[in-house]
């Protein structure tokens, strides 16, 4: 049954990297959308939300067409940097990051909008650089909201199946995450394996939720 533990390790690795990637991009985009008024801002916000509402297989197909060997980005990546993303765990990370991104960007935007601009203006008056204002004033104040978004993103990335299957395939040890492993086990009629994988996944999700409750206790937000 060590195939199950390999799948668990891979799922956690892919979900962690995907959450990190989605967080960096999501916080940047959320901050930009909250502070910067420009025509078409709400349109951009809606377009960036698409991965949350689009069927994962459609998303996976778009990513495959874009990042595959014959896609314009994938072809360039292979020619110039020698990077192939299809059938690799890095491809799985990208698929999971794309679906998890809207959770972080939406939460980040809401969190930054709740940060009183007076704090930022006070810091500006005191001569603090813009970068320092972001890292030492805005981000800490918005942290709880962003953290909530990150946890949702992690849960989404952990459960990601459709886009991952399309882009990364199902290669045991390399791209076969827990969700894909469950699917394969059911297809092959291996019910005991499927039951074990489902049990592991459920325990992991409960553990993540408990950790989330510890890190971002609800009562702290209502201040």
């Amino acid at each position: 049954m060590d195939a199950a533990w390999v799948a668990l390790g891979l799922s956690l690795k892919v979900a962690s990297w995907a959450t990190a990637l989605a967080t960096v991009l999501g916080v940047a985009v959320g901050y930009a959308l909250s502070r910067w008024r420009f025509p078409g801002r709400e349109l951009v916000d809606s377009v960036l939300l698409l991965p949350m509402v689009m069927p994962p297989t459609v998303l996976g197909y778009y990513l495959l067409v874009l990042l595959g060997r014959k896609g314009w980005l994938g072809h360039w990546l292979e020619q110039t940097l020698g990077i192939r993303l299809v059938f690799t765990w890095q491809g799985a990370v990208i698929a999971a990051a794309v679906v998890a991104f809207p959770f972080v960007s939406k939460s980040a935007r809401a969190a930054f909008e709740n940060v009183d601009v007076q704090y930022e203006q006070a810091a500006r008056v005191l001569g603090v650089s813009e970068a320092a204002i972001f890292f030492r004033v805005s981000l800490p104040l918005a942290f709880r909201g962003i953290l909530a978004g990150m946890l949702l993103a992690f849960a989404r990335a952990l459960g990601e199946f459709g886009a991952t299957l399309m882009l990364a395939g199902s290669i045991p040890g390399r791209t076969q995450t827990l969700s894909i492993a469950v699917f394969e086990a059911v297809q092959a009629g291996q019910d005991e394996v499927a039951n074990l994988l489902v049990a592991i996944t459920s325990v992991t999700c409960v553990a993540v939720l408990l950790l989330a409750g510890r890190l971002a206790p609800p009562r702290a937000i209502a201040r």
Binding site: R69, F87, I171, E184, A188, G189
Partner: protein
């Protein structure tokens, strides 16, 4: 009164959604490699039996078996290998006495159409320029089982397995090759013929036993007569002609 009406409306809607399946519908679960050919056979059957609508469900034979085993309302099962049908028979899901072999097929190795130096034999698959090979997952996909058997017999399964990218059906293996994401793939000759511009056959793989596809009506099917009629139709000359046109061999 309005609460009662609301509840009645919900109940009625529920009945409409979950009502009994309509008479005159035949559900056929068939192996993925039969997709194009069976659509033609279904159309011909409907032309002969205007009161019946044939609904197809195409996937890897192993996946179809799991659906039937868990109670999916299927009337006929056409599998790509004897092993899956044997499992169905062992679980008493099909009527063994009505089981027939209806076509044969051959195993081939395909490569992307723009490949310069295609492998010419199983040994060539060990070369470093063949980095990834699309093979159906042996646990649920017949073409994967055939491939594994052939490679094990040639004592090449060990070195080839690390290069394997598992496909959930033979059509997915074909798609991987067509996209150029793998350097070679094991599919049926009938599948290779579907995408002549994107894949080309590198070489044919001889198998110990001929690849024969069995078909059988489902034991628990409420449309027993219709199912039996469909199986007989598949064995008849008009259907066999359609199957032959798509490249399938006589059983």
């Amino acid at each position: 009164m309005s609460r009662f009406l609301a509840r009645a409306a919900v109940a009625l809607a529920g009945l409409c959604i979950f009502g009994p399946s309509q008479a005159g519908e035949l559900t056929v679960s068939a192996a993925a490699s039969l997709t194009n050919a069976f659509k033609g056979v279904g159309a011909a059957y409907e032309a002969q039996n205007p009161a019946t609508k044939v609904l197809f469900n195409f996937a890897a034979s192993g996946a179809l078996l799991q659906q039937i085993a868990k109670g999916a309302p299927v009337d006929v099962f056409a599998s790509a290998d004897q092993e899956t049908m044997d499992q169905a028979q062992r679980q008493q899901l099909v009527k063994g006495d009505a089981r027939r072999n209806f076509v044969g097929n051959t195993l081939v190795v395909v490569v992307p159409a723009d490949t310069a130096a295609a492998p010419r034999s199983l040994q060539d698959l060990l070369a470093p320029q063949v980095a990834r090979i699309a093979i159906g997952v042996p646990a649920s996909v017949p073409v994967g089982r055939y491939t594994k058997a052939v490679l094990e017999k040639a004592q090449l399964w060990g070195p080839v397995e690390p290069k394997m990218v598992g496909a959930s059906s033979v059509r997915q293996a074909l798609d991987y090759v067509a996209r150029g994401e793998v350097d070679a793939g094991f599919v049926y000759a009938t599948d290779a013929a579907i995408m002549p511009g994107k894949v080309k056959v590198a070489f044919s793989v001889p198998t110990e036993t001929p690849l024969l596809y069995p078909i059988a009506p489902i034991a628990a099917s409420p449309n027993a007569a219709e199912a039996a009629r469909f199986v007989s139709f598949v064995m008849s000359p008009p259907a066999q002609a359609i199957l032959a046109k798509h490249g399938f061999a006589r059983p």
